[in-house]
Symmetry: C3
């Protein structure tokens, strides 16, 4: 599309034909040009097995087409019809405790149940044949939020796991070696002895658990691929997506998914308990753009106001919906869409906000929906422009899975909180940030951060080494480089994968008791930096330097006097190591040196004001200004001499040429 | 009976015949004239299937009869014998997660298991034939605390649910429409697809859940009715009751039960963690009297001191048992009974207090038991007198069930805490209070409060409208009038059922974050009222007035400046709306105006002193005075010029004629 | 052995032959003379059912033997091989909720599964025949940490429970009487009706639960006995042990186990969340020595630094490992061993510390391991010496099980916290302490404490009475002497078992609300004692004295003015009763009098410094000094005029002759 797409999930099967007509009129009023159709319509499209009724959807296609609204048509396989589960009860998904998950809610079936796989392809093929060449069709939307039921333990799934392992390891002996089954005497002698992670008396082999995560991701990705292949076959000119839940579903390795979609799309919802949710939103949007390799992407779902599935579903403030939307756009989204168009009167999500709320078109929400539509429409020149970032953060779902397994040194040191804090430090320093896989090419970045790289493959470790030795700047966080891809500690020490690069060995993990804290004293040269006493909340390490320089030592904590933060130069490149969790102020002290080494400036902008830039091929800057504070600010847009004033709570878009 | 009944659960099957004789002598000493017999005696009455042994109970009937003690004979169906479960394992109850609940504790079987239903009627019939005409028999006590196992998922129960739905909806299409199955594509095409709320991957259809609650209530009520019908058939002159747990069991809709018993009875236990438990006790007693439509009722169980099933089972203070007992009596109870007569030496409840405690008759508890017996005996003229109330609070189990379903706007706004707070405000203002169903006749009340009417049927909404338009005064609390009987939001807005009556529309729910609060400023005329700054803890709303007058606005919170409390006159009637949760002081400010409009006075009485009045047909006032404070008070009994002095902790009864 | 044994669990099956050779060299460097071998080696020893491969273990035996390292050879039955579960899935253990616990972790099978029992004896016999006469073999190590899976509900186990009950009770009527099945109408008429504690709707009969605990203990002990008997038969000269988890596994009644092992051994791990874990360690070590009837014992496992299975696995401070080790030694251990020799690179415990840590031999941990080896080696004269104690604390697992059953008066009054506090008071007063079973001979002790004797058999009560009447001094804590061996309250009152001995009756339990507290005023004669206002946190009682003298009364609380602490003389013996939980200061006030009566002195030693003494047959004192503080202290060793200085954090050993 050559303008910003704007719209939402549209579920007309909950409404009468009269409402459909009103819907289309209101869509035009609001500037909606894009709707996602049919996500939960399987039961209304395939009345009974093999018997289809497309009449109502035909009508909607015409209605929307006439109104110039483009359609993102879903395959409805996230919610099989009641008849499906009646006919194929064996296809139900099964939870880890072997509870069979029946119908009566959303959530898919067992991904390896043949009946489910066949039924999915039948309805997908039927839809593709019916609508694949309709001029209103802009996009295929496969399934909905894959990963909502991230694993299943049906007999089919358990059997498939064994097959998957045979393909991965070939010989059973290789599996025994990789998993270290000699520990606790679990050596397998026959393939039939290998099993899914079913209930046991104590914890299970972590490498088994990690492979189960990989297998589960692959299983669900296979479901996607099968549907996509049918769509590509029948309507090759229509791009295919599936809506990720990049920040809320930890179970899908979206690096493996990103390569399989024609365009990346994502659903994002604020955590209502976080009054500064705009930072997490920014992280999420940067992550999605990174999954999309920098190309424009689709914000497939967010909310006009509160949601309904959190403990306290805080309504958005006036103006907040626009700021949220434009933050996504400023980070590369070319489409802004909502769940959902019209609030449902019945069912589990009737208290979720919508573009047309229960309160109707006399409401503030509707007014803001229309205003946002107009604002986006006036910014259509930005379509297709790109974001540029000098800093990258490593992000690896496999490492996250491994770190989340049981029996780690401390429950307090989470990869997510570490990454969030390091990201927020960059956000406060007004840096554009990409996320990258640890094995990806890093050469484009001046500075790379590894806040939480617990699992690091040999390839990834080599990649980091090459990056630094080629002049890159790398900051590594605590508990990093500990295990290989099988969750095994390497020979040579706890951080053997990185100890040479960093010039420091981790001799012991020293997590703090819940009520304890520690303190680091910064005694490195540069005396003009901020905080010199850095508080530590949960984690210390016993470090022994080999070739590194000590920048800071523990003043208090389990190993007083010991090194806490180090630096090691490799030619013009540099590698820092931070052995503790730091707060935002502490990170400021550390990053100051890294920015300087990397030649990165910190723009002079007000706190909690965002200035986001996308770059057109012709050099035009498409700028989004967001003011999260309750006062007005006047500022100069970095990289230009353009001055702008932004009111409290306001969001602006503007173009700067030159 | 023509005097206050006094006694308790009597479980002689745990004791020897020598103890029986001692029991009867002690009962006479304590003034006991009423015992509940045989509640858990099935195993001792029906030795094996169809083989009865009544000899021991015959003996007890004679023993008690000779001593002039009236018998409340239980059907023992709350605890089927071990032989029953051995013979009919398929009759076991099944939990929501499909765990089969075996024998070895209390708790009934699957309510739809034919073997259970037959066995219940067999033992009931046998007891009725044996004792139905015995002169000592005063009352039938069906089962025990129905609702302790409030739902069951056996195959019998699941099948019965389908039948129940067919009777309720007739056509499947009607069920689809009522439940809104189009949401998440759950449309049913065959009755066999409809199912009980078994495990699913995400939340289930709320209308299904609500109907399951109704069905479960009906299922258990049917069990009661079947036993009652046998008793009525065989001993038509003996009234039948079953002991409710009106305040602790949220699962039974006692409005539907109240009409099926000949006399209402109830079990009440203090929550030990509440040092002001006397307020909750008062609420409960008022609720039970209301279920009894104002007629005298039976306090079937309470405790002489601590119980055993709470985390910390606080013993009662000296005098507290009497105050508790007389609070029930002052609110309409004509019988005061305990669980249990003599403390069990074995089993799960041996640490529950009793009338004869482990410490024996040398104990303080026994002394107070005897004193209470004497006090009740001297107050027998009060038997049959009635309580009068000008204020009513709406109470509807169906609304409570619906509000407790998952995915509501905030977990913090509970119906129970709202209702408790509004009730306590009335209690502190020394008001007699009834509870009424929202569809019941309200014309007798000067003031009606709806603190938590989330679900309101069209009939109920019409009832409220008629009440106000006829001159009534109605105060409505937040999150009220939201859904119809199928948990569906109405067309026309979030509070469409009440918006015209109240003159205000709810545009958005604005729940607060856990750490946030809000503040309302009262700017209405009457400047002589109390608090003008009303704190809000958990809930605000975005209100838009149509015809209402704004009494107070949000000073701080999600919608500062917006209306918070409104008033709307309809002729001489008035309807107030309170869009937030208020504390007791805040409610005092609001209720002041409502009292004035309704012509209700607030008696000048000391705090935490209760003056309860029952009215005889001849105009005599039977007054109960309770002093919950640690100092003496002298006061004038409202409506009389009678003065009384009550010592710290004391409870008094007195009659005022004229 | 004639020196202190030093070593750890050795799992060479996880390593290559090259590493084995390095291991042995490092063991010699560290002074290791003892390793536990083969604990998880079943899968590597019995390749498939009945097919053995001993070649690799033969090699290790030779290797270790040549190096002079003695072997503690395990039967590997704690982790059956994968082939076992494939062949005998019915032998899997079953959890209380009927979840079947599969392979893929550690944890034994169903203890009553015939296939498991047969397989255990086959591998045990094979090992005994192969190695039973090997000169390097010092000890048999049966299984590992029995009690890790403390109960199982397979069909075999359920059936065995019924048989066990038939043996215990003979007639069903005796079981009905003992369990009090008349309560809640649970009387059994046929043995087939008796069942394991499977899921029920409410709580189960407590006597059933208690017998289930006894049965489960017996079941697992039977597994041990069967293996031991094979070992005794084949290698009668080699002692047999199994490693207890005396303080962390509450499910095994180790008094019944202690008599079945040839030498007591134990595993001990600090609770990382307790910064004063050395007190709990001391308690544990005293308990293990008591299980061993004073004879030297083996510390089979502890850790060189942090573990991996706690929420926050705090690393040990420099010097802490030595202090821990010597505290065990000073309390009677003749062997100090670790889990494990070399840190695993793979599997669930790779983050558990080890003697050879991931950081290798350049690490502080390795250095301290070697230093400790040298220290122990220089103290070999202490081998075989004994500890002497004047004070004993009652300890009874059956009472603990019973007190932990549901529906007790308060969740706050735990036996463990009471016992810990009373123990810590003694520890701070530098007393050597034994633990004794309540039915054991007490005549050797000047003072006996019963901090938490909820369940007390008639025999035990008689034992205490005899002890006091013979001149002993007994202090009894709250909630003691309440029930008999069937969890039944006795006729005659809540504390009937002790009321005559104590001269006081408990009339009511008065637990406090969570936010409340109470206060005792000490008004007994001796005015020179410490605290006179004793705070109470969770528990009071309504006490009525018969023949006792009141030493202290409640100043605040549920029964102000009532007795709180009493004393009653019987000839030269004395019995105190403490009706509340006291803190360490409060106990100091109470114990002062008891010490005086018992003629026990409190040595003048610095706080948090331990002086432990073992006595040789020749009168030599083997003294261990531990300084848990951060400053140096000079002190005189009690009972001698020997003076010593100990540095901050240091541990010393020394011999005092004469």
């Amino acid at each position: 599309m050559d303008s910003i797409a704007y719209g939402g999930d549209y579920n007309p099967d909950q409404w009468s034909r009269e409402v459909w007509r009103e819907d289309v009129a209101l869509m035009r009023e609001a500037g909606v040009n894009f709707v996602s159709l049919g996500i939960f319509s399987w039961a209304h499209l395939e009345i009974s097995e093999g018997q289809f009724d497309f009449s109502w959807m035909d009508e909607l296609f015409e209605l929307l087409h006439e109104a110039g609204i483009r359609i993102d048509l879903a395959t409805p396989t996230a919610a099989p019809p009641a008849w499906f589960f009646r006919t194929y009860p064996e296809a139900r998904a099964v939870a880890r405790d072997l509870t069979v998950l029946g119908p009566g809610s959303r959530g898919m079936a067992s991904p390896h149940a043949p009946a489910y796989r066949e039924a999915c392809l039948r309805i997908t093929r039927a839809l593709a044949e019916r609508y694949g060449n309709h001029p209103a069709l802009a996009l295929w939307h496969v399934h909905n939020e894959y990963g909502g039921v991230p694993e299943s333990f049906s007999e089919y799934d358990q059997e498939a796991f064994r097959t998957w392992l045979q393909q991965r390891y070939g010989e059973l002996e290789a599996l025994n070696a990789a998993w270290g089954t000699a520990f606790w005497g679990q050596t397998f002698r026959h393939w039939e002895e290998v099993h899914a992670p079913l209930p046991t008396a104590s914890v299970r082999n972590p490498a088994l658990e990690l492979d189960w995560k990989r297998f589960s991701n692959d299983s669900i990705l296979d479901c996607y691929r099968a549907e996509r292949d049918v769509l590509h076959e029948i309507s090759p000119h229509v791009p295919v997506t599936t809506n990720f839940m990049s920040h809320t579903c930890p179970d899908m390795d979206l690096w493996t998914w990103a390569d399989e979609v024609d365009i990346v799309s994502d659903d994002h919802y604020l955590r209502a308990d976080d009054p500064r949710g705009f930072v997490e939103l920014a992280l999420n949007a940067d992550l999605v753009r990174s999954l999309s390799r920098g190309r424009p992407w689709i914000l497939m779902e967010h909310s006009t106001s509160g949601v309904n599935w959190q403990p306290r579903n805080v309504a958005k403030q006036p103006g907040e919906m626009a700021r949220n939307s434009l933050s996504h756009l400023g980070r590369g989204a070319d489409a802004i869409a909502f769940f959902q168009w019209r609030a449902s009167r019945r069912g589990a999500e009737k208290f979720h906000s919508a573009m047309v709320p229960h309160a109707g078109t006399g409401s503030r929400v509707w007014r803001e929906v229309c205003e946002l539509g107009a604002q986006l429409s006036s910014f259509s020149a930005a379509t297709g422009s790109r974001v540029r970032a000098d800093v990258a953060i490593l992000w690896d779902w496999e490492s996250q899975w491994a770190q989340d397994l049981p029996w780690r040194p401390s429950v307090d040191l989470g990869h997510r909180v570490q990454t969030n804090t390091w990201y927020e430090r960059l956000w406060r320093d007004h840096q554009a940030v990409d996320f990258v896989h640890p094995e990806a090419d890093l050469s484009a970045y001046r500075l790379v951060l590894a806040p939480a790289s617990y699992l690091l493959t040999d390839t990834a470790a080599g990649n980091l080494e090459r990056y630094v030795k080629a002049g890159g700047n790398l900051v590594v966080g605590p508990f990093s480089g500990i295990v290989d891809e099988n969750d095994a500690v390497r020979e040579g020490g706890l951080n053997a994968a990185l100890s040479e690069l960093l010039g420091v060995q981790v001799h012991e993990f020293c997590p703090l008791r819940q009520e304890d804290s520690a303190r680091i004293t910064w005694d490195a040269g540069s005396s003009d930096v901020g905080t010199r006493e850095l508080p530590v909340a949960v984690w210390c390490e016993e470090l022994v330097t080999t070739t590194a320089t000590v920048l800071a030592r523990y003043a208090e904590g389990p190993r007083p006097g010991g090194p806490a933060i180090t630096e090691h130069a490799h030619g013009s490149g540099k590698a820092w190591y931070v052995g503790s969790d730091l707060d935002l102020d502490g990170l400021a002290t550390v990053f100051r040196g890294a920015y300087a080494a990397a030649g990165i400036g910190v723009p002079d902008l007000p706190a909690d004001v965002e200035v986001l830039q996308r770059h057109g091929e012709d050099g035009t800057r498409y700028v989004v200004l967001l003011n999260h504070t309750d006062q007005a600010h006047t500022l100069t847009i970095p990289g230009t001499d353009h001055e702008a004033t932004i009111e409290a709570g306001e969001s602006q878009t503007l173009q700067v040429t030159g």
